[in-house]
């Protein structure tokens, strides 16, 4: 009886001690911002939880990020930004110190991003010569030997802003083209590297040339605002078909006969 009482008292004391020492830190980051190694953050005696704002992220993005930066292995998404809202987090990184369930300090470490300056630069003629991953060059400013069937896509696929992108990439792979037509995939440059484009090609088993539109020139020239998106260009690089849906297999022969010269 006494032993049980002592054990219970000990457990209770341990609980109270833990409860009063219940201090930790939430470190809010944005993985799309500049990479900040945890080692450069102010040191702390308290355990830390790394929190990603719930903005433009999926669990797959988190997994890729953690794979690249293992120091963030505990990174979790702040579902619906509940914690960020609760603690008034408006910048990243921000460290929120919690003691006994209450915020006792908030440290904003981030600086505001600089304003974008190059998004609407005019398209230069040489930007219309685009390299494929193989190194081959494709010109969109001079007469082309072939009609071109293009899927404009994004190496961030799958992502919230790219509805059905994996399915559409596979669908594009399977389209059978006439002899005088070539099939291409053109990748948007936002937030991706050449390696990401290579990964896209491999992951989605793309069986035709993949072009990396580094200057966003083709997207701008052809007014591609939603993705993925199909376009057929005639020999003079003029649009003869454009849609979020693939052209019917039976119509391809008709498009391929539309030589504009």
């Amino acid at each position: 009886m006494i032993r049980t009482l002592l054990l219970t008292t000990s457990l209770l004391l341990s609980f109270v001690a833990n409860a009063t020492d219940d201090s930790y830190e939430l470190v809010f980051i944005d993985m799309w911002g500049e990479y900040i190694p945890p080692s450069t953050l102010p040191t702390s005696e308290f355990p830390r939880r790394f929190i990603q704002l719930d903005m433009n992220v999926s669990q797959a993005d988190i997994d890729r990020y953690v794979n690249t930066y293992p120091l963030y292995s505990s990174l979790e998404i702040d579902k619906d930004n509940k914690l960020a809202f609760q603690y008034g987090v408006r910048r990243t990184p921000t460290i929120v110190q919690i003691k006994q369930g209450k915020m006792v300090n908030k440290i904003e470490l981030g600086e505001l991003p600089s304003l974008p300056s190059s998004e609407h630069q005019p398209i230069a003629a040489h930007h219309l010569i685009v390299n494929a991953l193989s190194g081959a060059q494709y010109s969109f400013k001079v007469h082309s030997k072939n009609i071109r069937l293009i899927l404009f896509s994004d190496a961030l696929c799958p992502a919230r802003h790219l509805p059905h992108c994996e399915h559409k990439a596979m669908q594009h792979n399977e389209i059978r083209i006439p002899d005088n037509m070539e099939k291409l995939t053109v990748i948007k440059p936002f937030y991706v590297s050449l390696q990401d484009v290579k990964n896209y090609q491999k992951r989605l088993r793309v069986n035709h040339p993949v072009l990396f539109d580094k200057h966003n020139a083709l997207f701008r020239r052809y007014g591609i605002t939603s993705l993925p998106y199909w376009v057929i260009l005639d020999n003079n690089n003029q649009v003869v078909y454009r849609s979020t849906t693939a052209p019917a297999q039976s119509d391809l022969a008709t498009y391929s006969s539309r030589h504009s010269d």
């Binding site: 944005d30 799309w32 960020a84 408006r90 937030y191």
Partner: protein
Amino acid sequence: MNIRNTLTALLIGLSSLTLNAESHAQPRYIQGKTLQGDHVNTQGKVTYLKFWATWCRYCIEEMPHLNRIYNNRSPRLEVLSINIGLNQSEDLVKRFLDNNQYQIATLFDSDSSITRRFDVIGTPTHILLDEQGNEIYRTALMDEALQTALSTYLAKELSHD
């Protein structure tokens, strides 16, 4: 034990009901003062909202088009851009709008309240609301379905832009 479980279940159920009731009770219209200094109230109007930030490249790419829509809207359409305020400041957003000569009416969501009310977890997000504040359409990037839906509220030369 059973009573405790039942009470716990009841409490969880009640709290979730309260949360649902709160989220449905949120008005689907916006009142506030824009960065341009004008008061807006979208209640009773067909409203096109765009949520964005200056660090979002897709958002910035769409801005000239959004500005054209704003300048060519009919009186039946309210067009409002909502800067989500994360890693942003009012001054920064004003500077961006001024530098690019964008006239689009813009609200700065300083505490995320608008962003959360409309369940926005990505930028850009485009939302079209009817007069009652019901969501007619939502998309991440400016797609053709949105442009078609907006076209009835725009001058003819822009309706197929």
